[in-house]
Structure formats: C-alpha cells, structure tokens
Symmetry: C2
Subunit: 297 residues, 2 copies
C-alpha cells in the first residue's frame, strides 16, 4: 500500500484508474479541476496544474500517477496547450522529486511512433507527426533523464485506442454509438485502418498495476489485437440493432491517418503479467449500455 497522487483523477482514464488504485488498497490523493464523488480512501484536491503544484509538499506522495493533459477532441493534436502541459508536467515531476517521491508513471502516446509500421514495439522508431505526439515525446526525453538523475523510477505509458464510459463524444466509438441510439445514421470512413482497442477499465487496471510495479521506461497500453475500424463499426451497429444506419465510407480518410496502429504488448504481458479481462464485444456492449442509460437518465 502506498500514498499515491493521481492527476486527471476525474477524467476518462482517471476514473477507472482511481477505482483500481483503491481496489489495490492504496491511499489516493486525487487531483482534478473539480472534485469527484466522495469515496473512502480518496482525498480530493481541486488544483489547476497549469497554475502550479504546491500541493505536492503537503501530500508527500510516494507514487505519482500523472494522467492530466489537454484532451479537447479535435483540438488536442495541434493546440499550443500541449506545450503548457509539457511545462506543467516537468514542474510537477520536479516538485514530486523535491517532496521525496521515488516512483512515477506518466502518459505518453502511440502518436510518438513513426507511423510507418503495422505493429509497434516500445523500441520502434519515434517520429511524432503532430504537436501532441512531439510534446509527449519531448517530455519523455527530459523527464526520463531527470528521473534517472533524481533517483526516481519512471514508467512511461503509451496508450493506443482506449474506449469506454465517459469517452469524449466526438471520438470514434461514441461518434457511432450516439447517433445509432438516436436512430440516426452513423457516419464513418471506409474503415480500412487497423486499430488496437482496449476498454478503459482494463487500461485503469493496467495503470494501477504498473504504478505499483518496478517496471520502468516506455510500456505500450493496448490489447495487442488489431481490428479494422469497419469491423468495430459493424459490431457497434449490431449491438445497437441498427446495422442499416451505419454509413461506411461517408467520411473521407484524413491524409495523415496511419493505416495501422497496433501494439506489441510483450512488456505488458510478460513483465507485468497483465492481459485484458474485457473482450472487444463485451466492452462495446458495456459502452453502448452506458451511453443508453446516460441518454435516458
């Protein structure tokens, strides 16, 4: 059991990570712009990390799990906010070191890789094509060198396509579920791109387990299974009972879109002993149910 500081605790990935940390018996200090629900074992701190991180000195966390970032859908790829989050994240890591912290987990992205392969292991060439990817990669370069100097063990997590409850509505999975539940056409590309989907509950469980492990360096966070977006769309349409409303090919594929983003999950499986508990079909069913209850409720 450790005293863990979790940033982005009320976000899409933060929620299931918070649950998994509590389940593992950790004392969690949860940072967010606005406090979440009162849960035993959680101390909320309303903090805007872009304005500083004095809270570190009071909490003196043993473990830092830093998930907070700018994630506005459609904007986050190229927003200058990414640069502010590089600054804030370095400042946070320095404050964590100054407060005596020894183990940290920070979030990278599969957008750090040079998008030219089918499957990406952690040692694949890095050549981010976006400001978001470059900001995460540059942060990793500085943070890992600083961590080594400061005696902090640092895990750097590279998530692929995470989906599930509380995902931003404009992202791929909700962008299909929501119109289908309303009985409207769900527009998507021809869907030939291969992606690697992981339910966010599995992601949260993996992050919590990684944070408590001694594994350092980059670690892909994914299922390791490639599916075409068309396949995902068809599964969602089938679950919604609205196959005829799936408008495949209604949106042109973006020029920069990589044909395949599938992870080699060897580190996650072999070193952490983690494998997803939620199949793609179960996960999509769970997600459709969640959106249905939310739109009814």
């Amino acid at each position: 059991m450790s005293r863990v500081l979790l940033t982005g605790a009320s976000g899409f990935i933060g929620r299931p990570t918070l649950s998994a940390l509590l389940e593992a018996g950790h004392e969690v200090h949860a940072l967010a712009l606005r406090r979440g629900e009162e849960i035993p074992g959680v101390t909320w701190h309303e903090v805007d990390l872009l304005g500083g991180c004095e809270v570190l000195g009071d909490v003196e966390p043993e473990v830092l799990v830093h998930l907070a970032w700018y994630v506005e859908h459609g904007e986050f790829w190229s927003s200058p906010e990414n640069v502010r989050w590089v600054e804030a994240s370095l400042s946070l890591l320095r404050a964590f070191a100054a407060a005596g912290g020894q183990r940290a987990l920070m979030m990278g992205t599969c957008a750090e890789y040079a998008w030219s392969r089918e499957v990406y292991a952690e040692d694949a060439p890095l050549a981010p094509a976006t400001l978001y990817g470059a900001s995460k990669h540059g942060l990793h370069v500085v943070a890992s060198a600083f961590a080594e100097q400061a005696g902090i063990s640092l895990a750097w997590v590279r998530p692929f396509l995470l989906y599930g409850p509380f995902e931003a509505q404009g992202r791929f999975v909700p962008s299909l579920i929501l119109p289908l539940l309303r009985g409207e056409p769900a527009r998507m590309t021809e869907g030939s791109s291969r992606r690697d989907l992981l339910h966010v509950s599995d992601a949260g469980a993996a992050i919590a387990a990684l944070a408590a492990s001694p594994i350092s360096g980059p670690v892909n966070l994914a299922s390791g299974i490639g599916v075409t977006l068309r396949d995902v769309g068809e599964r969602i349409a089938s679950i919604c009972g609205a196959e005829e409303l799936l408008a495949v090919g209604a949106i042109p594929i973006r020029a920069q879109e990589p044909p395949s983003l599938v992870a080699d999950v060897g580190r996650l499986e072999r070193e952490l002993g983690f494998s997803p508990r939620i199949s793609l079909d179960d996960g999509l069913r769970d997600t459709v149910t969640w959106w249905r209850e939310r739109s009814l409720g």
Copy 2:
C-alpha cells in the same frame, strides 16, 4: 534591420552576439539578470526568465535569439536547473508567438548527439548521455513542433567547444591559461580527445547572421577542425611562454568523455556562407591577452 530580443545578453556567448547584432544594424532588446553597459541601439531589460517573460508583450520582437540557460561549470551537466530552463524556454517561445514573433534561434548542444562518432553532421543519431543534453534535445523536439504549428521559423544551434573572453574559469581553456599566467603548473588529462574549437567572437557573428537568415532546423556551430586537447594545451603553454608548466596526464580522463567531438560544418559554410575569421592560434593568443589584462587590471 529587425527588432531582436536577445536573452543571456550579458553571458559568455551573449556578449559577442550582442555586438554582432548591433553591427548588423538591428534594434536589440537585451535580457539579462543584470543590465550590461549602455550601448547605443540596446535597450536592457532586467528579467529572470525563470520567473516569467511578460516583457515579450511590451517589446513585440520580430526575432528571438534565446541564449540564456543554466551554465554553472561542473554542475550544468546534471543539475535539475536544466529542467527549469526547458520549462522557461517553452514558456518564452509561446510568449514570443503570442506577441507575433516569426523567427527564432535557440541553443542546443553537441551533447545531444550519440557520442560514438568522430565527426557529427546535424542528422547524426541523437542519444544524449547527460541531463543537460537530454533537456536540450527534448526542448528541441517540442519547440520545433510548436514553431511549425505557430508559423515560426526556428533555427536550432548546436555549439561545440567555444572559447574566448569571459569563459567560466573552470572550463578547459581558462583552466590552463590562469595557472600558467600565475607561473603555476597547469594540470590536464593526457589530452588524446579530439575537440572542435571556435572563438566565441566567431560564434557570436555566426549566431547573428543565422538569426537574420531563413535557415531552419539544427545547425552545428563550430570550426569543423579537430585538434587534440594536448595540442591545444601545448599551444596555450607556448603562448604563455611556460611549456614546462603544462602537466599533461596529471588528471585522469572521465569515463564518459567522448574521444572525438568534431562538427561537420557543411550547413554553416554552404547555407550561411560562414567561415571563422579567427584562427585557433590567433584566438588563443587573444584569449591569453584578455586573461592577462584582466588579472593585472
């Protein structure tokens, strides 16, 4: 003629850069912790960049030449101050963009390269072995992606071994000149390492010319000529008339010390049309004279 904001203006590289910018007719706003001498064409701003950079909004510079960094001799390789300077440099670049700036020059280091070659072109593999090198490299990754997004043309300068007046006393060249001028033994390693020396006046001239050019991306700042440190030591001892006081081999070589750090200066020569005006012998003589006058004065 442009309105140029120069940071680190009273530093080792900043001084000759300031002179070269003025010589080229630019209007210079010089940032430093403490103002330097009053010179026509220079407006001094006493600013600690670690505390913010509001001055950008008032000056609205067209060109940014960002030299300021943590450079404490012996400390700078591994100090956490490097990380603060990454944060401050990104914040500065954002403020420059917000103030309408379009052309920037920032300083990297030859310590970004994987130290495994004899000669380094700008596209040589990068694998910084120090926190200093990693901080500069990570900053470049983020800054170049941000600059592209913000429509800023960014030159990234990688200096090799610069020497000349106002160099920190503990660094290689002054560490020999100062004892020799006092008539004391000057201790050095066996001196087999090859280095690429450039007089800091030439460096300042190259930086000023680069800042006014449209050249973007990484540019080595060096002479392109490799000399052994032993050769440099012997030249200095000869200039000082104290050959018998040069204690070659008195200090063990550091384990991480790269055997060769010599630049391919193709970009500097061909694209900028720059070549050094000061030979190594003239530069060392000038430097010995400067230290002699300083120690007498």
